[in-house]
């Protein structure tokens, strides 16, 4: 009963990749949570970084545009004093790293920087000096029509500005930020000094003041020509980096918190799922081991709860069935035991009866033999005329008496032989016998009977027929019984074939074939039983039905086999085997072996 479970459990545990349901759930949820948290955190951080950068750029743009607006007249008239004042005001904003006013051809008009950027403005002759950052960002890219600023990322490496391809932080830079390092990253905003008109079309006086020229068309507003210039403001991303660092750590903490919380919930959920399954498994194992299974106490209102209820009901039914089966088996055992005892008693009784029958038959045969012998002596005396002359009629009567006495004598001899065999009192004295000698003698002995039946016994014996290991008297009796039956059941003028051949190195086959009526298949198994006569045997055919039984017992006492091959109305062929004589066999056969007693005739 336990084998099924034992086969399942080792199969699970023996696989190197087998993991429990709880582990699967926890691992799956961990992977999902980790991926989801990392993805969300990455999207959130990117969005926040972009938003913060855009905010910085937006406020920086306003600052730069404001500076450009306020300083445009100073730029137009080359008022570096005022420009420097405005730049200093702009620099007072914490996030501003440098401010430069450059001409459209890239020459620095005025500029100041803070910290490392001071070096970029340390020498500032008026006029022809380019600003390194302006040269990098290529002011030609500035869209002068839309007025939008040109935003560039500047990396200040070894006091030399380097243009970045993007203003966004890379993944590696974000990790560097998390480590607490500060990156020398700056946002450079380049705006054009505006040409915005302050004049409304309805302001007659101002329009006239600004536009009235005798040498220019009046129908288009002509502004006073201003020097095209650019205002470039560099913003430190220090505050942005600080914000991003906080965001990164917050994201990490939120991710870890979510992961831990999620895993905790998953473990609880897995336990909630796995524990009932484990209890069910343990209960199933107990059930498989035949132990009494208590009701599995799972009260969840889900599939597992339903499974537990079904399992409990099934376990109860199985236990009830098993109990019934055990009771039934117990009852059957009792009944079989009782019947066995009855059978044993009956068998013993039968054995006793059979023994007593054999004893009776033996005793009766012995007791019958003595008066029969006396009767035969007296009959011989009568036939010989010792007790007086007898008539012919009397002689014929005496002959009939003698014949019947002979039959009776044969019957008693057979009964005596059979009873001795059955009681185990018969002994076999094996010796090496030339089979053809015994056969010849038996054929000679049967010659009168064969002559009476006008039958001819044809023997076929090969020249190399070996001697057989047999008791000569018993072998003679075997052959005599088989040949007598063959002649008796064959019609007149029949031929009975007797053949013998060597079928192996130590076995010889002897067959007696007749052309009698044969034996019906249903009677074949019974013809070797004592006193059995097939129904098809004609009533006039004489015999007690002991010949084949005696022959079979004797052949088996010689370790041989006797069988019949028959076909109704075509005849029968009785065959038996004998062991050929060998020195070892003969040596073992020096001691007379008792013939095994026959089973009692049921």
């Amino acid at each position: 009963m336990a084998t099924d479970t034992e086969m399942v459990e080792p199969a699970l545990s023996s696989s190197p990749f087998s993991v429990t349901l709880r582990t699967k759930l926890v691992l799956s949820m961990a992977v999902i949570l980790m991926a989801a948290c990392l993805l969300l955190a990455w999207v959130f951080i990117r969005q926040q970084a972009r938003s913060a950068a855009e905010s910085l750029v937006q406020s920086g743009t306003l600052l730069a545009q404001h500076l450009a607006g306020r300083g445009r007249f100073s730029i137009a008239v080359g008022d570096t004093h005022r420009l420097t004042q405005l730049i200093q005001e702009t620099l007072s904003v914490n996030s501003v790293a440098y401010v430069a006013v450059v001409s459209s051809d890239g020459h620095l008009l005025a500029g100041l920087g803070k910290g490392k950027w001071q070096q970029q403005f340390s020498f500032q002759p008026m006029g022809q000096r380019p600003f390194a950052v302006t040269t990098l960002v290529q002011p030609r890219r500035l869209n002068t029509e839309t007025g939008e600023p040109l935003v560039s990322g500047i990396w200040l490496a070894n006091h030399a500005p380097v243009l970045r391809s993007t203003i966004e932080f890379t993944l590696g830079e974000l990790f560097t930020l998390m480590g607490g390092s500060e990156l020398p990253l700056f946002y450079d905003l380049l705006v054009q000094v505006p040409h915005r008109s302050h004049t409304a079309v309805w302001d007659t006086a101002l329009q006239l003041t600004l536009d009235e020229r005798l040498d220019t068309p009046e129908n288009s507003t002509t502004l006073t020509q201003m020097t095209p210039a650019l205002v470039e403001v560099g913003f430190s991303t220090s505050t942005l980096q600080h914000l991003l660092r906080q965001l990164l750590w917050q994201a990490v903490l939120i991710t870890l918190g979510t992961l831990i919380g999620g895993l905790g919930l998953t473990i609880l959920l897995a336990r909630h799922i796995a524990s009932p399954l484990q209890r069910l498994t343990a209960a199933a194992n107990k059930l498989a081991d035949g132990e009494a299974v208590p009701t599995v106490a799972i009260h969840t209102h889900d599939e597992i709860g339903t499974l537990a209820q079904v399992f409990s009901a099934m376990a109860l039914k199985l236990q009830a069935r098993e109990h019934e089966l055990r009771e039934l088996a117990h009852t059957l055992e009792h009944r079989v035991e009782a019947r066995t005892q009855e059978l044993a008693a009956a068998n013993t009784k039968l054995r006793e009866l059979d023994q007593r029958k054999s004893i009776f038959v033996s005793t009766a045969s012995h007791e019958l033999r003595t008066p029969l012998t006396a009767m035969k002596v007296h009959l011989a005396n009568l036939q010989d005329g010792i007790d007086g002359a007898i008539t012919e009629e009397q002689r014929r009567s005496l002959l009939r008496v003698e014949a019947n006495l002979s039959r009776l004598r044969i019957l008693i001899d057979d009964l005596l032989d059979l009873s001795q065999i059955e009681m185990g009192q018969a002994t076999i004295e094996l010796e090496s016998i030339p089979l053809e000698t015994v056969i010849t003698k038996v054929v000679d002995d049967l010659h009168p009977f064969a002559h009476e039946r006008r039958a001819r016994i044809v023997t076929s014996l090969p020249s190399d027929l070996p001697s057989v290991s047999a008791d000569p008297d018993k072998l003679r009796q075997i052959l005599l019984n088989l040949l007598h039956n063959a002649v008796k059941f064959s019609p007149l003028d029949a031929i009975v074939d007797l053949t013998a051949m060597k079928i192996s190195t130590d076995e010889v086959l002897v067959s007696v074939r007749d052309v009698g009526p044969g034996i019906a298949p249903e009677y074949v198994d019974k013809i070797f039983q004592p006193f059995y006569r097939a129904p098809t045997v004609h009533k006039t055919t004489k015999g007690a039905g002991l010949g084949l039984a005696i022959a079979k017992s004797l052949i088996e006492s010689h370790h041989g086999r006797l069988w019949v091959e028959t076909e109704p109305n075509r005849g029968s062929c009785f065959s038996f085997t004998l062991r050929s004589s060998t020195p070892s066999r003969l040596a073992s056969a020096e001691t007379p072996a008792p013939i095994p007693s026959h089973h009692p005739i049921a």
Partner: protein, 320 residues
């Protein structure tokens, strides 16, 4: 060919007008600008109903104006109304007998206007008028600074000095020749004055200088008195401004006088009538000035509320 058609149509118009016996006025407009149009509308509205007018546009081209003026000289109308500098100069160069009334010319003296057959209306109110308005708006400020280019506004400043003296004001006029002199001049001037008067001088006033004046005066908390509604809206305290329609009306009256045979005003430049005071209440509040209810009632334009002031108290940013 177009010229021939133009001349033929001109003569046809003149002949028909003569036959009808109506007064004919030709209107020359320098350019197609809104305030020119308003002046023309005001002019027409001020004429009698029987007066016929025909408008000619120079499209900003002086040569076009001279060509039109030549045509008018061949078939002269009763009066020519020239709006804008180019129209007035074209009339001066080509019209010698027909009376001409002009307006919307900033510096007529600089271009030899008005000629003998011409009269006109100045764009700038007289210094006396402007200073009176300034004094009315800011009664307690007496030191008035002003920048000017002697080439454009020398006469005006000299008149202003007299007017200031008469009104008990101290006028600190600083002459400049180029725009790049403005920053240092203003920085030097502001500590000495308590009002900055911005006059219609093309050297002083430019598109780039306007925010500088606004910023500087607001930073220094010095009231700025100007001539422009735009500047008042953006932070100047006040201004004395003209309405083009009113100028047109004034020109119509002058034309009527000419047509009625009153030649007394010929060759004379008249001051504009009824200039309007514009005030910025937010600027006054920023400057710590209290505008009286009467001043606010009399102001033709009063700016207040959100957006009417560029600079708020307590804020460092300048918000145009």
């Amino acid at each position: 060919m177009p010229h021939i058609v133009f001349v033929l149509s001109f003569f046809l118009f003149a002949s028909l007008s003569r036959i009808a016996g109506a007064t004919e006025i030709a209107i020359l407009t320098s350019a197609n600008l809104p305030y020119y149009d308003q002046a023309v509308v005001g002019f027409k509205a001020g004429l009698p109903a029987a007066t016929s007018t025909k408008e000619y546009h120079l499209n900003g081209q002086l040569e076009e104006g001279r060509h039109i003026a030549k045509s008018l000289r061949a078939a002269p109308p009763d009066l020519i109304f020239a709006v804008g500098l180019k129209a007035a100069v074209a009339a001066k160069l080509e019209i010698f007998d027909t009376p001409v009334v002009f307006c919307m010319v900033l510096n007529p003296e600089a271009h030899g206007l008005p000629a003998q057959n011409m009269t006109g209306i100045a764009v700038r109110p007289t210094p006396d008028t402007q200073l009176a308005a300034l004094r009315a708006a800011i009664p307690n400020r007496h030191r008035i600074g002003v920048l000017y280019d002697d080439q454009h506004s020398g006469d005006f400043i000299r008149q202003a000095h007299q007017a200031a003296k008469q009104q008990g004001l101290e006028l600190l006029a600083v002459a400049i020749r180029r725009q790049d002199e403005i920053p240092n001049t203003v920085r030097a001037l502001l500590p000495k004055i308590n009002v900055l008067w911005l006059i219609q001088d093309q050297t002083v006033v430019s598109e780039s200088a306007i925010p500088f004046f606004l910023e500087s005066t607001l930073d220094a908390r010095i009231p700025l008195f100007t001539f422009s509604l735009t500047l008042v809206q953006q932070g100047a305290l006040g201004a004395l401004v003209l309405d083009p329609w009113t100028v047109g009306q004034q020109a119509a009256r002058m034309a009527q006088s000419h047509l009625n045979g009153q030649q007394a005003s010929a060759g004379v430049l008249q001051a504009p009538e009824r200039p309007q005071l514009a005030l910025n209440a937010n600027a006054a509040e920023h400057l710590g000035l209290a505008l009286s209810p009467e001043q606010m009632r009399l102001a033709g334009h009063l700016f207040s509320g959100p957006g009417a002031l560029a600079k708020k108290p307590g804020q460092s940013d300048f918000i145009p």
